[in-house]
Subunit: 225 residues, 2 copies
């Protein structure tokens, strides 16, 4: 009885009230990038099948991903590319420019700073912090590198996002300072587990753990020792 | 009738015959890192609750992750840390040293090369390739940087894994060369979609798409424009 009521409710409730899987959110920026590219190249309409092919995603998966947020496409016609770009941007809150503070200007920080892939999503690195006196005060892309002790001043600069590219030993202190300064989202590259309050979203990019998954998928690993 | 038969089969089949989610595989290296650290610090036994706490993972999730591969712990006692390290290493095929070729020695490649986090998983960068004549022939950590045209020679050097840190424009050519040279697993940093044959596993690390997820999770994004 209860089960059938729940089943009925599930059918009645719009998809937006269902729990949206993190995997869906992770795919949205990829759809967005492909769609933006296609639109630039003159594609105005696309089927879920074609879109899926660009990303090695099943067409039903693409349709399901979008269905969480409403009905975007027209059956048999497909998706209006421009409209879908606008809709995904809005879902991801990328329809407003996003200011980012970069902490750490070592090799990795420099690579991130020079990286061109942020622009298409509307991200802009507007502040850079480092601990090295030789770097502090110098300019990178017209941004003056500041002392990490000044992270607390971010509070008045309306920066919600930060990329942390410092050694593990310094990462928790940096993250604590960012949280105090009101930063709400952190992309962390330090290979360690960092504590943040629930209201602050942290996404960890751990090169080593990603690499560590690879051998599992290789069926006939040669024994190398 | 069919459903109940399937249900019975599911109960009878050991977990290892169930499909193992990618998310489980992705968590295994994180468990492994924490367990190795704990073992070094003298911890011989750990509960799933305690282990989960270290990684912000529910204890049932940790138990479920391990259950795919057999029964590792003892109810009420927990897991033997040393044994669990060995078991996870074996699942991930990290119990043998893994040779890695790094392609691209720009800022990102240099950061990867200098990165210390690979050792704990038994990875070793044993070959570096770049296109820059100024870099080719120089030494990095006792490894001579080679011309990318020599990637094809990897075939004779028993290297299964590669990290690709080249610009998007060069990435597909590099990946094609790696596939030809018999590389079976690729960790790609170029922010583009790369085609590989099914037998080659590619894991993409896309800084921009990860960053692009962040604003979604921030409930009260300040409008910044």
């Amino acid at each position: 009885m209860i089960v059938s009521t729940i089943m009925k409710l599930r059918k009645v409730l719009p998809m937006k009230f269902h729990k949206i899987p993190n995997e869906t959110i992770q795919r949205l920026p990829m759809y967005l990038r492909v769609l933006q590219l296609l639109y630039k190249q003159g594609t105005n309409n696309i089927s879920s099948l074609k879109l899926g092919e660009f990303l090695d995603v099943n067409s039903w998966q693409a349709r399901k991903d979008f269905s969480y947020f409403g009905s975007f496409g027209t059956p048999g016609v497909g998706y209006d590319v421009k409209k879908l770009v606008r809709q995904i941007s809005k879902i991801l809150k990328l329809n407003v420019a996003q200011k980012v503070a970069l902490i750490g200007l070592g090799n990795l920080g420099s690579a991130i700073q020079a990286y061109g892939g942020f622009n298409i999503y509307g991200f802009e690195v507007v502040a850079i912090f480092d601990i090295d006196p030789k770097k502090i005060g110098t300019k990178k892309n017209n941004i003056i590198v500041e002392n990490v002790s000044r992270i607390k001043l971010l509070k008045n600069r309306k920066i919600d996002l930060s990329i942390v590219a410092v050694p593990s030993s310094a990462a928790q202190d940096v993250v604590d300072a960012l949280v105090k300064a009101g930063v709400k989202g952190i992309l962390n590259f330090a290979p360690c587990h960092l504590k943040t309050p629930k209201k602050v979203k942290i996404i960890n990019i751990d090169i080593a753990t990603d690499l560590a998954c690879l051998p599992y998928y290789i069926p006939t690993a040669r024994r190398q020792r």
